[in-house]
Amino acid sequence: MKRVRVLLFMCAVIAPTGVWADEAKPLGENPQVEARLKTLAVELRCLVCQNQTLADSSAPLAEDLRREVREMIAKNMTDQEIIEFLVARYGDFVLYRPPWRLTTTLLWLGPFLLLLVGGTVLVVTLRRRQKTLPETVLSEEEHRRAERLLSKGNT
């Protein structure tokens, strides 16, 4: 029964080749579980390795955790519940997407604050420039000086 289901699934996702007898089996028993595991695991950090996701790591602990997550998926737990399970044991460190907390507010808002500050400074500078600099010929003069310097050095 299981084999039939696997084959049916493979027909659904990939182009059927006609060679049914020795088609390779997907590693996970249940492809839907594997797909969910994959989407979850790429956002989770493996603790023992230097800096790898749970999906990429081949460390034994990562394998155990994947097994654990697989079982939770099979038990129909939501993503939120699975993440809570891991965070309760290992802390926020396991999450590659830091959760919204007071301490991470600056992290999430930072880039947009920077953009806001950058944009404001840009507009203010441009305005002030226009006021203090009503079309000078200074730059032309400077440019000519540069040319002079260059040609002097070159000849």
């Binding site: 997907p26 230097q50 996701t53 999450l95 590659y96 930072g110 400074v121 600099l133 032309e140 440019h143």
Partner: protein, 652 residues
């Protein structure tokens, strides 16, 4: 004996660097020509000494001198010669020597191509570079000496980290360092100009080619690092937002901003204060990157052995160099003039806006990279900031930047007419928008990100086409060829580099949108099909490498019954390092990569196998290469070649 010669050469180089870092600067300050004249021979002498040291370390590796601690730790008698030589920069001490060597290389380049510079300017530039080199030589001689002896000598070495035993790793670090360290030239130009008080358009014109060359190297270096991760780490990713990758990406973003800002300073005399800050920033970020990699304050896949003393030294060095330059900046910058005026809608303001976006992007990468450290230092807990964060933040920041990329080159200097711009670009926008919305449907899947990526890429290319067309029609000439030839190479370089970005975006968009992955269990004779390609697992053999044993699989790939290729992924076991490595087998193509990597042997002679079909992935690195070629084209422009020929004539 040879290691001692190398060690001694480093000590001498430190002495020379001391002289180079002081006398010429004093001479420039007091107008003493004989003191200034010290700079050039000192720089060349230092180069020779560091070259000797470099060769000595190379010789120690070549002859397997395991009485040298660094050689014993990073090589093995069974390691092939080319990897033994690459092992020079395989770990901390040696890569610092490479850093210093490349810095000296850049110094010599400055002495060769700076005849047109005023004496004081050149003396200051070389002086500043001498000070930087002083810091690195001191670092090496105090806490990271590659020539330390191991007594008694080890019978054999502990071998090079297998991850680094790869052709990509042989060239990736030198490329990357050429870029990192190359920004030291732009930095030295900026500091020299601040010291001398002559921050003008000429300064910008001089430092432009140097910055572009460094940027090209950095671009290629980062691309190679990414390509290496793709096939060597064995799980098919090409960018992980790892701290070490970010450390190389931040100077790239700052350097890209610098290139554009320098263009304005050169052409229009504007943004001087901003440009000089960017020059300081680009090099500071290179130094910061060095610190992050060496000190172990952040965990990374690329972790080097760490030592708190080393971290402290680099931090102190960082504080002195960057702190000192920023102090000088704060002191001198207020006196710098504003330069040419321009309208809020003009090429200048668009370039400035693009600069702001690039710097904000850089700041965000910095924030994300250091944030875990900030929280930890404040005792607020440990978090991880990874790809989901960077992806979320980066796309909205880059989208307007890339939109401006199409707009900027077509807008006039000083004052641009917005309605007229809209008219000129209406076709470009219409075509790219229409295609971007419809093309994903043709490809079989529509997501907003897919459309956005295609839109941005097409926008860059179509605006470039409009721009070139307008430019050529405005030229006078008989034939199209003469008209095209009349367009300066710098212009072609710019357009090409922009198209490189478009190619890169296509690569990223297509891979993220359409890649297919399969983890399967395969017995000999099994087949599996992915992306229309059928992989047949033909056989697996044992193999002996020079310093490893391997299991090599043979996968025959067919499409619609026709042969495509045969792939040989390997699972290697490096005996000395006691490490297992996955060597993926990849069939690269213009529109797709086929990727096979062997997982673990399973029960019953089967293997777990990971297969990918990755559409357009090579466009990612191709785009980077095109960008770098654009840069090279820009510096081969007539005005630089003329200058160089005049110098040659003057020298003869």
């Amino acid at each position: 004996m040879i290691p001692e010669i190398g060690h001694f050469a480093l000590i001498l180089a430190l002495c020379v660097a001391t002289i180079q870092g002081t006398l010429p600067l004093l001479g420039a300050a007091s107008g003493n020509a004989s003191l200034m004249a010290v700079a050039k021979p000192a720089a060349r002498g230092q180069f020779l000494l560091v070259l000797i040291a470099f060769c000595c370390l190379g010789a120690a590796f070549a002859v397997n001198d395991f009485s040298v601690l660094y050689v014993a730790a990073n090589a093995n008698s069974k390691l092939p010669l080319h990897y033994r030589l690459a092992a020079i920069w395989g770990a901390h001490e040696g890569s610092l020597l490479l850093w210093t060597f490349i810095l000296c290389l850049w110094m010599v380049a400055v002495t060769l191509f700076s005849r047109h510079l005023p004496e004081a300017m050149r003396a200051r530039i070389l002086g500043v570079m001498g000070l930087v080199s002083f810091g690195f030589l001191l670092f090496m001689l105090t806490v990271s000496n590659p020539f330390l002896r191991l007594i008694p000598a080890a019978p054999d070495g502990r071998d090079l980290n297998p991850l680094l035993q790869d052709p990509g790793m042989v060239i990736h670090p030198p490329m990357l360092y050429m870029g990192y360290v190359g920004f030291s030239v732009a930095f030295a130009f900026a500091i020299a100009a601040l010291l001398g008080g002559n921050l003008d358009a000429a300064w910008a014109r001089w430092s432009r080619p140097w910055t572009t060359v460094a940027w090209c190297f950095l671009t290629v270096g980062i691309a190679m690092g990414s390509g290496w991760a793709y096939y060597e780490l064995g799980w098919g990713g090409w960018w992980f937002w790892d701290p070490v990758e970010n450390a190389s990406f931040m100077p790239w973003l700052a350097g890209t901003a610098l290139i554009h800002s320098l263009a304005v300073t050169d052409k229009r005399g504007g943004f001087k204060v901003w440009t000089v800050l960017l020059a300081i920033l680009a090099f500071s970020l290179s130094l910061l990157g060095t610190f992050l990699v060496r000190s172990g304050v952040l965990t990374s896949v690329h972790a080097f052995a760490t030592d708190p003393k080393r971290g402290l030294f680099i931090l102190a060095f960082l504080a002195v160099v960057i702190g000192g330059s920023l102090l000088l900046y704060a002191w001198r910058a207020p006196r710098v003039g504003l330069g040419g005026g321009f309208d809020p809608v003009s090429r200048e303001s668009m370039l400035l806006a693009n600069n702001v976006l690039l710097v904000v992007a850089m700041g965000s990468v910095l924030l994300g990279t250091l944030y875990p450290l900030f929280l930890d230092a404040l005792g607020l807990g440990k978090i991880s900031v990874g790809p989901p964060y960077f992806d979320t933040v980066f796309v909205p920041l880059m989208t307007p930047a890339i939109f401006l990329m199409g707009l900027g080159p077509i807008a006039q200097w000083k004052k641009a007419d917005l309605p007229a711009l809209a008219v000129r670009l209406r076709w470009a926008f219409g075509v790219s928008f229409g295609t971007a919305v419809l093309l994903p449907f043709v490809l079989g899947k529509w997501t907003p990100l897919l459309s956005l990526g295609l839109l941005l890429a097409l926008w860059v290319v179509t605006t470039a086409v409009v721009n070139v067309r307008e430019r050529v029609t405005h030229l006078t000439g008989d034939s199209l060829m003469t008209k095209l030839a009349a367009v300066p190479r710098a212009y072609w370089g710019m357009q090409l580099a922009h198209c490189g970005i478009a190619v890169l975006i296509v690569g990223v968009t297509m891979v993220k949108g359409f890649e297919v992955e399969q983890d399967v269990r395969m017995n000999i004779g099994d087949t599996t099909t992915i992306g229309g390609y059928t992989f047949k697992f033909d056989s697996i053999q044992d193999l002996m490498g020079p310093n490893y044993t391997a299991a090599r699989g043979t996968f025959h790939v067919t499409k619609n019954g026709g042969d495509v290729t045969t792939l040989y992924p390997e699972k290697r076991f490096y005996m000395v390092q006691n490490q297992t490595m996955t060597e993926a087998a990849i069939d690269s193509g213009l529109v797709r990569d086929l990727y096979v990597s062997l997982g673990e042997p399973l029960q019953g002679g089967a293997w777990s196998v990971r297969l990918y079909h990755k559409p357009f992935i090579d466009w990612i690195w191709g785009g980077c290469l095109i960008m770098a070629i654009g840069g090279v084209l820009a510096i081969s422009d007539r005005r630089y070649r003329l200058g160089w020929r005049r110098e040659q004539a003057a020298a003869a």
